[in-house]
């Protein structure tokens, strides 16, 4: 398994500001992903965090709004920029290992509320 620490666990932010969410894994992992879980809805993949290169974004998500960093194999950040109330969601970090590619491990999530 993988132990994933995600910070902050929750935050309340003002419209127009930005929040950076950190994801730290206790061991080197191959794949790191960021998901969004909007209230009462399922999980949607935002992007894949690529180590040493630009993240790969899914349709509907752009780098200017959700810049992602992954400086090494155990750490990634997701920034939610210029926030609006529509960005209020749970943001989840997820990791996968090459040895068991079909299984994903999830952090406990960051519950973001934008006023």
């Amino acid at each position: 398994s993988a132990v994933i620490s995600q910070k902050p666990s929750r935050d309340i932010c003002q419209r127009g500001t930005s929040l950076t969410i950190q994801c730290q894994v206790d061991s080197q992992v191959t794949m790191m992903f960021w998901y969004r879980q909007q209230p009462g809805q399922s999980l949607t993949l935002i992007a894949t965090a690529n180590q040493g290169s630009e993240a790969t974004y899914e349709s509907g998500f752009v780098i200017d709004k959700f810049p992602i960093s992954r400086p090494n194999l155990t750490f990634s950040t997701l920034t939610v920029s210029n926030m609006s109330p529509e960005d209020s969601s749970i943001y989840l970090c997820s990791v996968g290992r090459m040895g068991d590619r079909e299984k994903l491990f999830f952090g406990s999530g960051t519950q973001l509320s934008v006023l």
Partner: protein
Amino acid sequence: AQSVAQPEDQVNVAEGNPLTVKCTYSVSGNPYLFWYVQYPNRGLQFLLKYITGDNLVKGSYGFEAEFNKSQTSFHLKKPSALVSDSALYFCAVRDPQRSGGYNKLIFGAGTRLAVHP
């Protein structure tokens, strides 16, 4: 397009009774199917997966799931429910268009399981 459907928003079960949480899928090719559970204020936890082999897959916490190709279903089951099983359950399918270790999972809407004492 690949998709999974969870037709029930909520399932209510009495403790000790068997439970079933339904999931149907639509994929091209062979499906890679998963069940995850989300307890309050916690991230998703992997329960079980079906890749190939026996249609009955056993997973964590006494859960199992039955893969039915003819009905395109992958229902989650447990013979005897516990109050502690109360949580949000997600069915997911791997997007076969992704390869090379890139595991994009497509999640269902989720089913809230409530087990009553």
